[in-house]
Symmetry: C2
């Protein structure tokens, strides 16, 4: 596990900010907002793993060759490490437990690429905009690919429980944000819990239990 990818190049001190010219292509077709896991190198020498939505340029009617855009909210580890390191490693995971760990917990690793990632892209980032909404500062970044690889491919299958886990991470992250209606979020989470229970496989059920545990939210009494 984790002995592959940019982090395995032990002769490079910090692969994420090592490239001067970003010329590689994304290892996947991006359309709309693609949910990824981004690894950024922290001051403790460990890679922090967090969720990051990648906005394809077509979203905004921009030039299709324009850079992919991502937004960080608040003074998160990703924001700090992007600021200090100028890049990171974006990866595409298919296991809902990896996504929940990245989105809802502080997960750190010695290597940037998870063993379960289907593909990864080492990116350099450029701060291009910032603002404030609902009391939280956001920063927009352009991401350019310096290096990338596909580790594996698979038949793409549809599991409603998987989608429910992903959406639940978003709902949970809004539970303490005043701009969102808590009752509405809890009703939505109860729906997601039902979908996971009825349609999820073992990985989805475990991911959802973990999300419930780390978030402190609990719908089981409802």
């Amino acid at each position: 596990m984790n002995d592959r990818g940019p982090g395995s190049e032990s002769d490079r001190e910090n692969p994420a900010d090592g490239g001067d010219d970003a010329t590689a292509d994304w290892p996947v077709d991006l359309a709309g907002v693609t949910e990824s896991v981004v690894a950024t190198l922290g001051p403790n020498g460990l890679w922090n793993l967090a969720a990051l939505g990648l906005h394809a340029p077509e979203r905004d009617g921009r030039d299709p060759d324009a850079p992919v855009r991502a937004r960080t909210w608040g003074r998160t580890r990703t924001w700090r490490n992007f600021t200090e390191r100028g890049g990171g490693v974006v990866q595409f995971v298919a296991d809902p437990r990896d996504f929940v760990d990245a989105a809802a917990t502080v997960r750190e690793a010695e290597r940037p690429v998870l063993g379960s990632a289907d593909a990864w892209a080492e990116v350099t980032v450029e701060r291009v905009d910032d603002g404030e909404r609902g009391g939280t500062e956001w920063v927009d970044w352009h991401l350019r690919v310096a290096d990338a690889a596909v580790e594996r491919t698979a038949v793409r299958t549809i599991n409603r429980g998987f989608g429910a886990v992903i959406d639940a991470t978003v709902a949970v992250s809004r539970l303490d944000v005043p701009a969102y209606d808590t009752e509405e979020l809890l009703a939505r989470l109860a729906y997601f819990a039902d979908v996971v229970e009825r349609c999820g496989g073992p990985a989805e059920r475990e991911a959802f239990d973990r999300l419930r545990e780390v978030s402190g939210w609990d719908d089981r009494g409802r």
Copy 2:
């Protein structure tokens, strides 16, 4: 398009019920309920395409080697063709427009396998149970694979708009079922519309528009 797969074997009159012994494996790992598109041959000689949820045996704590199970609701074309032909062709699609067409419209084709399918499995079906819920009769079927192939694989990516389209097809199918709360379904559909608008790519937005169109439901005035 559609010139591949079981339907392309022109020397076989009806591939879906042609196999006596079902011995092949599923072309994908199934866990929980996997949403598929099933093609069944109708009396008009055309293949009807419909959505079908495949229940892996682990769902019910059954023997992992037990057959995959699927439920048909009411006297649908899939129910009729399963009954009359004893089988069909299950396929795994990654384009949300194909899923919406199968789930929410009457789509018929000369060939059973869509050109966009990542994989397919020719199955024989056995009626194993039936019952009634909310005034609708259901039938449970065991599915056994007679032949299967992987047509392509890809890096698996996560798009919340994709998940919203899939879940919306379920909500739309319940709009006229008395057992479901219409207001709750409409609120959920409004949420899915918002997710598709913010996170979907062109395929998700087109699929959602098509679902809105064929279902007669419209949230845009809300």
